[in-house]
């Protein structure tokens, strides 16, 4: 899948905005949202939040997790642990990219936050590469990857699954053949001679 498709999926998350207009409730297929009251925070899907922000009809409220101390803790935990730590939610990177891209002026300490999130991302990606290599070396047919987000899993496709497929194919075609031939070579040695 493309990163944009995963962004598309992540955009369904609920985000918090403060509209600068007032409106009644709207009844979308994905749910009811509103009423919109200028100056009062409310929840809408992330795609709608970005759209309204781009039309300058709202401010985006940073999600709870997008705050310096919290992120520093996550980063330390990620550095310390051998495994992948549980991220605030499945689409943290999508949310970060969209919110910091469209509404960085609404986020306090936006540039520091960008840096920390990028650091966390880099640490995890590097761990991921090491894990892939370890997985291939140790067997290459099964792995458990809790706490990896969809965007991170997508970043190793098709490499990891296709390498595992390749390994399986090599094992299957090369091993199967040698045991089959054993029978036929015995046969030809012990068989009676025949005319061509």
């Amino acid at each position: 899948m493309d990163p944009y498709e995963i962004e598309f999926i992540g955009e369904n998350r609920i985000a918090s905005i403060i509209p600068n207009f007032s409106y009644d409730k709207i009844y979308l297929i994905c749910g009811e949202f509103g009423p919109f009251r200028a100056g009062l925070p409310m929840n809408v899907p992330l795609w709608l939040a970005v759209m309204l922000k781009q039309k300058q009809k709202c401010r985006i409220v940073p999600p709870d997790w997008m705050e310096i101390d919290n992120l520093e803790n996550i980063k330390e935990e990620e550095k310390r642990s051998r495994f992948f730590t549980k991220m605030p939610h499945e689409h943290y990177m999508v949310e970060a990219k969209l919110i910091l891209g469209a509404a960085s002026e609404d986020i306090p300490n936006a540039s520091e936050i960008k840096t920390i999130i990028k650091d966390i991302w880099d640490i995890r990606m590097s761990k991921l590469r090491t894990s892939m290599d370890a997985l291939m070396k140790s067997g290459g047919s099964y792995g458990r990857l809790d706490h990896l987000t969809m965007m991170e899993i997508n970043s190793v496709k098709p490499l990891l699954p296709s390498a595992m497929n390749e390994l399986l194919k090599i094992q299957m075609t090369s091993k199967k053949s040698s045991s089959a031939t054993l029978n036929s070579s015995t046969f030809s040695q012990s068989g009676t001679s025949q005319n061509l």
Binding site: K97, S155, S162, S174, S177, S185, G191
Partner: protein, 191 residues
Amino acid sequence: MSYLSVTDILVSNEKVPCKFLHDLPKLGFLDPSCTDDDLKAGTSVEIPIWLAESLSSRRPPLVTVDLPKVYKETYREIFSADACTVDLHKLAQYFYELGCYVAKYDIKGEVSTTLVNTFRQRFKMILSASVATDSINALQPLSECERDHTAAAMTTEKALSSWLKRGESLLTTATMVANHRKRKRAEMEML
């Protein structure tokens, strides 16, 4: 392998050394060093694997298939010592694919083990080539199959980097852009 796979067609054209077990009249042309019209029993000739499989699976078999040198003892030891130092592109660009074909002629089954272990060890070369700034050198020693995997991994990397960059939210563009054009040109030629 899929009937329509171009790689399979190319691989099955690779030559393997075979020993002919019988006199074969009029087939002297198979051996470029032979001056006769006829092919004598005991001659060793390199023929494509598609032909070798056909001739050796007849009853009685017309040839015995020998392993190409890359799958023999000496090289197997090199691979198990350090597979990552080998330039597979120079040595045997269809190393894995051809290996799968010839493994059946290795009664001891050691070729199979070598193929599996070599692929496992060299996986990290694919990993580093996919993110390398100097991708030409990183790609050079990889076999065709390894290069295909690397190419796919590079595409994913590019897509992810460009997604991160979009909207100027998270990734700095400076270093990426500088290397991008140079690298792209070289990769096109390589792949």
